[in-house]
Every structure is written in structure tokens, then in C-alpha cells.
Amino acid sequence: MRRFLTTKGIIGLTLLTIIALIAILGPLILSPDAATAMDMTARRSPPSWKHPLGTDQLGRDLLFRVILGARTSLEIAVSAVLMSIVLGLPLGLISGYFGGRTDNILMRLVDTLLAFPALLLALTISAVLGPNVQNTIIAIGIAFTPFLARIIRGEALRVAQMPYVEAARASGTTDVMIMVRHVLPNILPAVIVQGTISLAFAILAEAGLSFLGLGTQPPAASWGLMIQASRDQLDIAPWTALVPGLAVALTVLALNMVGDVLRDILDPRSK
């Protein structure tokens, strides 16, 4: 715990806590239509007392939209990363633990998926399934699975050669039991680190997908969607792009900081 208390760790964790609190509490405090209520007398108004972060082309308050957008963006990112862990963990674990032919076949599959740029894969899946929140989660989740599987496989391969695993095998423990009781706990740190870093990428991916119109759909508020809407009014209302852009940047920055510190603590080899 003490090793987490570096400047980077403290700043990252504080930022992340604030953002998470906003995403969770925001929608409970604000009324659901706060983000869609239009004030036609104040369209594209710059930040003011009435609208601290300004308004967009429909006179919607950007502060409310960015708060409610936080929920959508984080929800998608967290669900997508959880999905990629659920898919990638067994794949990587089996591949790394058994090695040999199983490993060859599974990793060939993973390498094939890795040849598709993650964003392209996510875009294609989203276009195939039809863009909405649920399918955005599926698209990002599948696109991230090969990365998770690769890293977990590497860790499982290392742990599977440890003397304690050999001892367990010699004492007749079944493979499934060894994987669950001995290998899994020892690769968890790597999964946590990779999961945190993936969260940062998932936030970026959601923003990218929604920006291209193949992610979250209007009238929902998501950061990528807000940036997309700002595109045609950059010169007259630059804040409409900067507000959601900074929201994405701060969140990703916080996740990267926490991820970096976690890696230094949990994986001493990377120091």
C-alpha cells in the first residue's frame, strides 16, 4: 500500500475516484433530461455562470452532458474490459498451462485476430451488429480479447513451470484444480495491470467509435458523441469539443497513472 503512495499514484487515484463518483452519483442527482433539455435562447453560449462549461448547438448544458456522458463512457469501458477478461482468461490460461499443440492452435487464432487493428475490428463488429450501447460493448470486448489472451498466456506459461505447480502435479492434483488454485492466483496481478491499462484504451475506443457514428447513438450523451457533434462548429464554439475531449483525456490519464503505478508494484521486473 505504501508503495502506491507515489505522486503519480496519488494523483491518478484521486482523479479516478472523483471521476467514478461523478459517473455514479451524477445521474442520481441530476434529472434524466438535464442533459437533453434545450435552452434555445442560449445556443452555443460560451462558459458562463448559468452554464459553467457553455452550451452546444441545441442549447444543451455541457456540464450536465459531460457528467451524464461519464456514466455511458465508463459503463461501456468497464463492461467491455470485463468481457475481454472473461473471454481472454480461459483462452490464455489453457494455452499457457498446457503448451504444446493446444498452445499452437489457440495462439495462431489469437495472432490472426491481432492482425486486425483493434479499432477496425471493433468498428466492423459494431457495423455488423448495428450500433448501440450493448453492441459497442461487445465490439470493444471482442476486439480487446486477443491482447488479454496473449498476456495471460505468457504469464501462465511462466507460472506453469514453477516448482510448486510441478509439486501439485506430482501429488496427483487435476489440471483444472492446478489452474484454478495455483496458476490463476499467481497471474492475477498481471490481469489487474492489463485490465487497468485496457480500461484506458476502452475509453478511447468508445470515444472513437461514437465519434464515427458506430458507437453510442443520440440522444444518449457520450463523450465521443459530443466531440462528433462539435465538429461542424469548431471555429464558432471550440468549447463544445474541448469539454468532452478533456473529460476523455483526464479519465485516460488517471487510468494510465494508476496502471503505471500498479505495474511497478505488482510486476517488479518492469522496473
Binding site: D111, T112, P117, L123, T124, L234, G245, L250, L253, N256
Partner: protein, 313 residues
């Protein structure tokens, strides 16, 4: 030699698997080519007739065989939205994107290597903190956000570069470069962040090694030690990472070309996906995956060529 041969064999196998994934994913799409040609409101009998003549009623494996056969013989079909042969279209757009890829990679390396070396040499001092913070900010900002900032600053306010469009290099090469510059800079800044971190960590490891101490003890100037001795050893991993970033670049290029209305491969892929132009989706997705994989192969081989210590096999 065996290493190269094995690597080539695995490349062919992966290419084959890529075709299966591409074909598979695009065939789950609801609706088919016939419906896209004739529209959803078309006469069911006419639709059925077109399906029959296009061979859409054949088993998937037959359709897959026909697709692969076409790809191998250069007949890539016709795009439904552009009404143009796909091979021709791809070649044209790939050339446009190649300008961006080369330009952004050059910008990224030109900034990242000095910054990474600077950080490693002054490890744990303010220079290191500055460099790491810059890199961290770089990875955290979505590259399309950089793109928007570029448009605001360099196109709208300063008016130095155009904010959208593409010019054919055959007509006006300088114009091509001017149009490609802002998207390349935005992509380059995103890439730079990863490469700076990589250069720093590799250089840090190398600067702690014996041969560097020996070089210093010999009285060589610090500049020679760092740039000739240390960097020569660090550049391999950095190039590898740069090569691996090609995949990331091809993902980001879709967003960037959309933002800058730059009509390259990314823009084409996006149009194909948005309009569900099946034959075009299949071709673009396959080409991108193949290029990414072949780049990784090239990087591996280059690595063997520039670093005599790893002549594997």
C-alpha cells in the same frame, strides 16, 4: 534460414485464417448484396433472381472459394457504393494513406528518440519527469482530439494548412504533403508517446551495462557513448515497437481521415462500413490485416538483419 522459412509458412497460414475471419464476420451481416443493390423495398422475385445470378444461394464454402479465387486472380469485384472496380479503388486510396503513414512515423520517431534518450540520460531528474509527463499526456489524449486541436490552431486560426481534403500527388505533390501534414502530425503525436516510453526504458537498461562503463572509462566523449554506443543498441527494440504500432496506426487512420475528409484507405474503410458495402468491406478489412501482418514480418526480418546477435535458427 529455417527461421525465415518457418516465419513465412506461419505468415501464409495466418493470411489464410485472416481471410476466413474476414469472410465469416461480414457474412453475419443482416441483409445481403442483392438486397443492397435493389433496396429493401424491391420485388421478392426479382431479388431472388439476382441472388441466384450472383450465386448468393450457394453454400458458404462455395461462396468463400469464389471470393478467394477472385482475390487470387486479381478480380476483387465492384464496389456497390462507388460503382468502381475494388482493386483500382484500393490501389488509389492506399497510395494516399501511405503518405500519412510514412509522414506520421517520421514525425513520431524524430521526436520520440531524442526525447527518450534525453530522459534516459537524465534519469530521475527534471528532464526525465518532463519527458515522461509529455509521453503520458500523449497516450492519454485521443488522437482525434489532437486532430481537432490541429484544425483549430493550424487551419482555422493560423491558416497555415488546409483542414480537409486530399490532392492527387500526380497533380500537385506539395499540395498532397500540405493536406497530409495535419492528420500526420496528429497521428505522429499519439505514436510519439509510446515510442518515447520505449526509447527511455530501453536506453535506461543499456546505459547500465558494462560496455558503456568501459566506453566511458576509455575516455570517449559522452556524446559518442550515448549516440554511437548506447543508441545503436537501443534502436532495434524501438524500431520493433514502431513496426508493431502500424496496426494501431491503421486503426487511428480511420478516425483521422474521417476527421480531415482525407480520402485514403481509412476513409474508404469507413465508407464501406457505414454503407454496408459488403464486397468493399471484405477487401479493405483483408488488405489492412494483411498489411499489418506483413509489416510485422518485415520488422522481424529487419531486426535479424540489423542485429547480428539474433541470427536465429
Amino acid at each position: 534460414m529455417t527461421y525465415i522459412l518457418n516465419r513465412l509458412l506461419s505468415v501464409i497460414l495466418t493470411l489464410f485464417l485472416i481471410t476466413i475471419v474476414t469472410f465469416g464476420v461480414t457474412n453475419i451481416l443482416p441483409g445481403d448484396v442483392a438486397m443492397m443493390i435493389m433496396g429493401t423495398q424491391s420485388n421478392p422475385e426479382a431479388l431472388e433472381g439476382l441472388r441466384q445470378s450472383l450465386g448468393l444461394n450457394d453454400p458458404l464454402i462455395v461462396q468463400y472459394g469464389r471470393w478467394i479465387g477472385g482475390m487470387l486472380t486479381g478480380d476483387w469485384g465492384t464496389s456497390l457504393i462507388f460503382k468502381q472496380p475494388i482493386a483500382e479503388l484500393l490501389l488509389q486510396k492506399a497510395a494516399a494513406s501511405a503518405v500519412i503513414v510514412v509522414m506520421s512515423m517520421t514525425i513520431a520517431l524524430a521526436l520520440a528518440v531524442p526525447l527518450g534518450v534525453w530522459a534516459a540520460v537524465h534519469r530521475d531528474k527534471w528532464q526525465d519527469t518532463t519527458s515522461s509527463t509529455t509521453a503520458l499526456l500523449g497516450v492519454s489524449l485521443p488522437d482525434f482530439f489532437w486532430g481537432i486541436v490541429m484544425i483549430l490552431v493550424f487551419a482555422r486560426w493560423l491558416g497555415w494548412f488546409p483542414s480537409s481534403g486530399f490532392v492527387d500527388p500526380a497533380e500537385d505533390f506539395l499540395g498532397t504533403l500540405r493536406h497530409a501534414f495535419l492528420p500526420s502530425l496528429a497521428l505522429g503525436l499519439g505514436l510519439m508517446a509510446h515510442l518515447t516510453r520505449m526509447t527511455r526504458s530501453t536506453m535506461t537498461g543499456i546505459l547500465n551495462q558494462e560496455f558503456i562503463r568501459v566506453a566511458r572509462a576509455k575516455g570517449l566523449s559522452e556524446r559518442t557513448v550515448i549516440w554511437r554506443y548506447a543508441l545503436a543498441n537501443a534502436i532495434g527494440p524501438v524500431i520493433t515497437i514502431a513496426g508493431l504500432q502500424i496496426g494501431y496506426l491503421f486503426g487511428s487512420i480511420i478516425v483521422m481521415e474521417f476527421l480531415f475528409s482525407y480520402t485514403g484507405m481509412g476513409w474508404l474503410t469507413y465508407q464501406a462500413l457505414l454503407n454496408r458495402d459488403l464486397p468493399l468491406i471484405q477487401a479493405t478489412v483483408f488488405v489492412v490485416a494483411a498489411v499489418v501482418m506483413l509489416t510485422n514480418l518485415a520488422v522481424d526480418l529487419l531486426y535479424v538483419a540489423i542485429d547480428p546477435r539474433i541470427r536465429l535458427g
